[in-house]
Point group: C2
């Protein structure tokens, strides 16, 4: 029996994800798919639009067999750190045969060649990278320039500069390269497989077309909130059309009970938290440079909402997402010293089970037989676990739940009270 691993946010789960799940199983011939899914916060530094238990339910209803949670420090980390955490978790399960991911490029060989250079960092490439960084380029730009120059001087690679430039401009390619790098670094036996991304672009905000992007769906949900008092059934139906049929019931039953959740629902918490911070304390949080800390302190009196504040703090060289990640790290108390050990070990200390299909429980058996890390199915009895990483995750989810229950006036359930989703067909 073969297993394919998928790393995802499912924010929210849509038809494109369903397509990817089906195709991943088909092209690898895998009998089951294990999903490493972000929890209640995602990589662009925002809370997920729906709680993780709901997104798990949707994924299981549409073809996922087992859903494991990517710890929040990885889930809200830079692309590299996100990939390192997720791939190391897949690897640690000991029973995953393939890692299947989308990319705009669609050719694993080219992506792998790029990843090899970035992973091994040949001396010439390093020198070129330093040069372009010194010239004042932000890291992604410097990397691209260095890579193209390196390529001109190293004829052993099969791709041409124009290709590289296009590849490194696409967000899914960049993530794909990070996955490949992580697999290389871990000497993993997991075989990478890529699927050409179809449908809407990553940042595409319009609904409709072959597949609407998750961004477009989130924007659609936000637009519905703005017209809250009007009858917004048609608008919601428009969004439902973009979700797999199996998600409709789950969506309708939980709409305005536990979602949608936006970064701006955390505005007051952020404001209150920033009241007690100093520049020194701020720089202890993950991703925050002294310059960003300075800007946060300077402008902390000048915002009403979380997203306004990101817009205010971002600069030419520091993106909105980076700032948003910084602010989430402040709110969740994720500090730099939480990171180095884990990065050095390059591994995720435990596997937290969010849900599984009953018919695929053999996957769980296989994980338990082969893994070197504890599998947490019940929070009340974790043993031999990186407690700090887990506690940080529990706090992050309890804070999310606090916002949800405050917004929708529903009963509060803490992380210990939540059950694993078990889908019986």
């Amino acid at each position: 029996m073969k297993i394919v691993g998928i790393i995802a946010e499912y924010n929210p789960f849509h038809k494109g994800h369903e397509f990817h799940l089906e195709k991943a199983k088909k092209i690898t011939g895998a009998d089951a798919a294990i999903i490493i899914m972000s929890g209640d916060y995602v990589q662009r530094g925002i809370p997920s639009i729906m709680p993780k238990h709901l997104r798990t339910q949707m994924a299981l209803a549409c073809g996922a067999d087992v859903v494991l949670e990517l710890p929040v420090c990885y889930a809200t980390g830079s692309a590299e750190y996100f990939a390192t955490g997720a791939v190391s978790l897949l690897e640690a399960l000991g029973c995953v045969d393939y890692l299947c991911f989308g990319s705009e490029c669609g050719e694993i060989k080219i992506l792998q060649q790029i990843a090899d250079v970035l992973c091994k960092e040949p001396e010439l490439y390093k020198v070129l990278l330093q040069k372009h960084l010194k010239n004042g380029n932000a890291f992604p730009a410097a990397r691209k320039l260095a890579f193209i120059e390196y390529l001109g001087k190293n004829k052993s690679l099969s791709c041409i500069p124009e290709q590289i430039s296009a590849i490194l401009d696409s967000p899914n390619n960049i993530l794909a390269i990070e996955y490949l790098k992580a697999l290389s670094c871990l000497n993993s036996s997991i075989e990478p497989v890529t699927i050409t991304r179809e449908g809407a672009g990553y940042h595409d905000q319009t609904l409709g077309g072959l597949f609407s992007s998750a961004s477009a769906l989130r924007q659609g949900l936000q637009d519905c909130e703005l017209t809250k008092n009007a009858n917004h059934t048609p608008a919601i139906n428009h969004i439902l059309q973009e979700l797999p049929q199996n998600c409709h019931k789950i969506f309708k039953e939980n709409y305005h009970k536990c979602f949608p959740v936006f970064a701006d629902d955390f505005s007051l918490l952020l404001k209150a938290k920033l009241l007690t911070e100093t520049k020194d304390i701020l720089t202890r949080y993950l991703d925050i440079t002294p310059e960003i800390a300075n800007r946060i302190i300077t402008f902390r009196n000048d915002f009403l909402t979380f997203s306004q504040f990101c817009d205010l703090i971002k600069t030419k060289n520091v993106t909105y997402s980076r700032i948003s990640r910084c602010l989430i790290h402040i709110l969740l108390g994720i500090s730099k010293c939480d990171v180095p050990d884990q990065a050095a070990n390059s591994r995720c200390g435990y596997a937290r089970l969010l849900g599984f299909r009953q018919e695929s429980s053999w996957v769980l058996t296989s994980i338990k037989k082969n893994t070197g890390i504890p599998v947490i199915s019940k929070l009340s009895q974790p043993a031999g676990i990186d407690i700090h990483m887990l506690e940080q995750n529990i706090f992050a989810s309890d804070l999310y739940e606090s916002v949800v229950t405050d917004k929708y006036h529903t009963p509060y359930k803490n992380e210990y009270q939540k059950q694993i989703i078990r889908l019986t067909l």
Copy 2:
């Protein structure tokens, strides 16, 4: 020139307060009134319904000459601690001739006799108090029983047991006795004067009658919120009728811009704050016993709003207000170790000016000439100040302002940016 001191919350300022101000000046013959006013949080452990600067404006418009802020640790303290802080601040000004307060009893001689016993605590009284506490009575009940028994055995006092019982059952009498105790303890030369309380009772919730109580006005404002979407002009006009004419314009200009503010506007902040607390940490906050800490930890998952939580935590022996004070101390970070030094010194370390009438600026001159403590008129240049007490106050007000701006989507102004109210007639 004579000056009368008044200790008040003005939450909100109403016709009864205006009457008290006029009468205080009249019966003492004072030329000016200095108000020691609670800031953004009040003694029953809730945020004030309006920001302190607005309440200052109203008080100045209705006969107050100078308004000073009672630091938040005193303002949210027990009746005894509240009185100690406020009276010591008045005393420290060095130029106050009278302290005028309302009481249900209205006879200073009787109140003074009770205060003397409670202040000096004769051996016999102490023994009786211990006995009644041991019998399981809460402190206020034990004190009353002990006092009545003491009275029966000590014929030198002029009041009779029935009087005592009635006196000690009335909240304004209890506060009056605390003021008298504080004056005695400080050997103050300030002469106490009491005015019989007229109009609605302290806890009276109905509007109308001679004077509506502040409770009734707050309840009225809350009721208006519940019917937010309907046209609530008539209800608001009903409330306006209970405010002095001079307050109407201030009220109308600021309604739904910076008030009303309720404890439940702090619900999410409380929930988030409680996520990270342990029983040990909780008992470090002012007023929190290990039993209260236990109850907070046990029930912290079971509430949606601040007021619901108070209802849930209160017991037969621990009142709603006491719990509310505990929760405010948690939110504002007011701990037990903030208190002893100040209590031992029995003095307020600085006088923070919130506002004054231009025509009464001679009062400020008199304070500056006679006081032994720094008078803060500009936050940016405080010198020789109990920095911790002041910083705590700044944090508390900034948190209040965060809630206000989040609720009403108005620009945020931190404590340093706020101006002293200067009323020019």
